[in-house]
């Protein structure tokens, strides 16, 4: 019968395992799985076999190929894509922990690299990725050699990796370095905790705490939360508590099982209902007075998402602007450029304040948000501002205020304004020169069309794009029209003529000739994000340091005897 034939293959296997089973009943069972449980016969096979084994009194045993049997191998190449119970000795190359939501629960997982054949040198090994689902950080320190028992092979996109599960046994055969992260009960310092994401235990003094509300994005209401700051001798960090935290400011707290998450670029402690918070008594703990000092930051230290900081700035310019907000009321926003000895930034005030150029302002409880990729200090209340009568530093001349910072610090730091850095040109982007911009949104047109606004009569603009590099770090460098004209010592019209006389490829070739391997000094601002660093130049010049002087510096630095 057609119906029986449909399940013939599966039925045969069931009959092998359970010879006494009634064939009609088996077919009926597969039909039920398929029609009532929506499980196709291939997937139902195990369940059906188990059912008839039980029914016919056969001892329950593994069917088909014994998938859970231990497979002991020396090399990754001996593994198959569906091996589930693998025993192998490996070297741990890297271990990166991370918090991940697994079935609605926050779990610490980790990934990294492992190599097989661990007792042999690196060129005789094969490297695989692995994922640790079992919180085995203590036994998987980079540099160690371990035996895994009960690991499983994962194949995705034709690429194999190894899963280390909760049930996997990890035996350390050779100790490596320090464990990448301790999942111990020992509290971390705030400085250490800020460097990573995941679960931490802290002992910290509550610097401030106040109730706040979070309005749900879906409009379904709001959540009561507490926000504030915690501090210890290593630093301070802001927190967000989803449960009431009504300890008085100044109390030292032991906080177990909080998690560190990044709000924009700033780490933040999250306290939830599974976090234990209790008062901790330690008379030697760093005092409130000392901690309050640590809210003080300089402009160079500003990061997107910071809150409740204290900073002193010198005003360079100030303006106010009114606009009609979404709810129809007219609002005024004041803003300006400000500086301190470490750099420049914007200051936005949503309150009435009108400082003059050259004033020194002391700001408390300020927050930081990014505006066009650069940090912007935000003040909501005039009470947060004190206009200082005593100058905290010799007045800075904004015309010549560029803070020198090496390229590696630019790339590894936050976005900054008012910096000067240097590097060697290692690439000239072929789209340097005359471009056309969309008149609506200023995007660069491609083939006469804007990605957003369709075909447009473009507005011509001049820009240059390079990559500069110091051998350790690199950044894209963008010169706008003004900076390009000043740097090339010519204007947009002349460049346009030069290009129409030859080709844009000729123009780019001439840039290469002038720039590849040349050292540049760049003044402007940096935008640093996951994509890397970009420098927007106000001014670019060739580095005039002579090789002779540079060589003497190298000789001195490394104590070279010629």
């Amino acid at each position: 019968m057609a119906e029986e034939g449909r399940y013939a293959a599966q039925v045969t296997i069931v009959k092998q395992e359970c010879p006494d089973a009634d064939e009609k009943e088996v077919v009926e069972e597969f039909r039920r799985y398929e029609e009532e449980f929506l499980i196709p016969p291939e997937d139902a096979l195990r369940s059906v076999v188990r059912k008839f084994q039980a029914a016919t009194g056969i001892e329950l045993k593994q069917i088909a190929k014994p998938e859970r049997a231990e497979k002991k191998v020396d090399r990754f190449s001996d593994l198959d894509a569906d091996d589930r119970n693998v025993t192998i000795e490996i070297a741990v190359i890297s271990y990166t922990p991370r918090v991940q939501m697994v079935r609605g629960e926050e779990r610490q997982v980790a990934f990294g690299w492992i190599e097989d054949n661990p007792w042999q040198p690196g060129d005789q090994r094969e490297r695989w990725d692995f994922k640790d689902w079992g919180e085995k950080a203590e036994n998987l320190a980079p540099g160690s050699i371990v035996r895994l028992e009960g690991a499983s092979v994962n194949e995705w996109n034709d690429k194999r990796s190894l899963n280390i599960n909760r049930t996997t046994r990890v035996t350390v055969l050779k100790e490596g370095g320090a464990a990448a992260v301790q999942i111990s009960d020992e509290p971390s310092s705030i400085a250490d905790a800020s460097q990573r994401e995941g679960f931490v235990n802290l002992v910290a003094r509550l610097i401030s705490s106040k109730p706040d509300v979070i309005v749900k994005r879906d409009g379904s209401g709001q959540l009561d939360v507490f926000r504030g700051r915690l501090g210890d001798s290593s630093g301070t960090i802001s927190f967000l508590s989803w449960v009431p935290l009504e300890h008085e400011a100044g109390t030292v707290l032991k906080i177990d099982g909080a998690s560190i998450r990044k709000f924009r670029d700033t780490p933040e402690v999250n306290i939830g209902d599974r976090t234990r918070v209790e008062v901790f008594h330690d008379s030697a703990f760093v005092s409130m007075e000392d901690l309050e000092q640590s809210n003080k930051v300089s402009i160079s230290e500003l990061r997107n998402g910071m809150r409740d900081i204290e900073v002193t700035v010198q005003v360079e310019s100030w303006e106010s602007r009114s606009f009609v907000s979404d709810d129809g009321t007219e609002r005024v926003v004041r803003s300006g450029d400000v500086m301190d000895p470490t750099g420049r930034c914007r200051l936005t005030a949503w309150c009435e304040t009108d400082p003059s150029r050259g004033d020194f302002l002391h700001l408390t409880g300020a927050r930081v948000q990014y505006w066009q990729g650069s940090p912007d200090l935000v003040i909501d209340d005039a009470a947060q501002i004190t206009n200082l009568t005593d100058a905290p530093w010799e007045p800075i001349d904004p015309e010549v205020h560029w803070v020198e910072i090496d390229l590696t610090s630019v790339v590894s730091g936050g976005s900054r304004r008012g910096i000067s850095t240097s590097g060697t040109v290692v690439a000239v982007r072929p789209d340097s020169g005359i471009i056309e911009r969309c008149p609506e949104c200023r995007r660069v047109l491609r083939d006469g069309a804007c990605g957003e606004h369709g075909p447009q009569r473009g507005e011509e603009d001049l820009r240059l794009r390079f990559v500069i590099d110091n051998g350790v770090s690199n950044a894209s460098l963008l010169l706008s029209k003004d900076a390009s004209e000043a740097f090339l010592g010519t204007d947009q019209e002349s460049i346009k003529k030069e290009i129409s006389a030859g080709s844009s490829a000729d123009f780019v070739a001439s840039l290469r000739e002038r720039l590849i391997a040349k050292r540049l000094i760049v003044k402007g601002r940096s935008i640093v994000d996951e994509q890397g660093a970009m420098l927007l130049a106000d001014d670019v010049e060739y580095d005039a340091t002579s090789a002779h002087d540079a060589a003497n510096e190298v000789i001195q630095h490394w104590g070279v005897i010629l």
Partner: protein
């Protein structure tokens, strides 16, 4: 809350002298499709991209199945970098043709080149390093001298980190505690695990030459520039058993292969042939070139099938 792995950023261009790069025999291939690959040198430079400079010294065009490709050498105080421009880089071809035309008139000039690390592996696992050009430009002596100083600095920094690593445990925390800059930690761990004992003194020599040039103690660049045609002259005068195979090029390649790969046992005949074939010579020409190199005393064959450099 699954976090996206950040896209791997652009790799920085390592400043490196030719001898350090040529000695490197440890490639590290990225595991994912977009993961970068590296060559790791003996003192721990982890090179995906390099900025090198020197005197142009041979250029060649080959017609391949997919169009022309080019190769060339640039020479710095320590040796030569082999580089190529692939057929799939047509945007670089016009500029390179121009460069070749200039070279063929007998002109020699300084070239700066940004390139990606490449390697060729022989059947027995021998590694040959070269660079695939991304950007290149003729530069003046001042720019070249600046590069020499930067590269001397970068090399000293690696030598220093390498010697710090000798007294430290080979894990990231211990190395950083020993003062190894974080960008060198990875490479040093891999290098120390792969290479046997060697004397980093060899790399000091290039540094000293570079700094001497920059401080005006010697003027190697000028002599080098003048030397180039002379060198060309002398090799052209040498007896040429196989005219089309450019045996001078082959002999130099043979010497380089042996220099970079001889660990004291000599280098296998077949490996040299394979490397020459890969460099564009026919098998027959390669075999002839090895014979003539031996007959002319450029290299020696202390036991059958194994070649070494003639001690100077």
């Amino acid at each position: 809350m699954m976090q996206q792995t950040p896209r791997v950023g652009r790799q920085s261009a390592i400043r490196i002298f030719a001898n350090e790069y040529r000695d490197a025999s440890l490639p590290e291939e990225g595991s994912g499709e977009y993961d970068p690959s590296f060559i790791i040198t003996k003192i721990g430079a982890k090179i995906n991209r390099a900025l090198v400079c020197g005197v142009i010294d041979r250029v060649e065009r080959r017609e391949g199945e997919n169009g022309p490709n080019y190769s060339g050498h640039i020479r710095d105080p320590t040796g030569t970098h082999l580089f190529n421009v692939a057929s799939f880089q047509p945007e670089l071809h016009p500029d390179f043709e121009e460069l070749m035309a200039r070279y063929e008139t007998g002109d020699r000039f300084l070239l700066a080149l940004v390139g990606k690390a490449r390697w060729f592996e022989t059947e027995d696992g021998g590694i040959f390093t070269s660079l695939r050009a991304e950007e290149f430009s003729i530069i003046d002596k001042e720019c070249y001298t600046n590069w020499l100083v930067q590269t001397a600095d970068a090399t000293l920094r690696r030598i220093d980190a390498h010697s710090s690593s000798l007294e430290s445990d080979l894990n990231p925390a211990a190395l950083e505690a020993a003062g190894v800059p974080s960008d060198l930690v990875d490479g040093l761990i891999l290098a120390r695990g792969h290479y046997g004992d060697f004397d980093s003194e060899a790399y000091q020599v290039g540094v000293l030459q570079a700094l001497s040039i920059a401080t005006g103690r010697t003027n190697v660049i000028e002599t080098e520039a003048e030397d180039a045609p002379t060198l060309e002259q002398s090799t052209t005068d040498a007896p040429t058993p196989q005219a089309p195979s450019e045996p001078s090029d082959a002999v130099e390649t043979i010497i380089e292969i042996i220099r970079s790969r001889d660990t004291g046992q000599g280098v296998d005949y077949n490996d040299i042939v394979a490397a020459l074939v890969n460099a564009g010579h026919s098998r027959e020409d390669a075999e002839d070139a090895i014979d003539s190199a031996r007959d002319q005393g450029e290299v020696m064959e202390p036991r059958f099938g194994f070649f070494q450099l003639v001690p100077e």
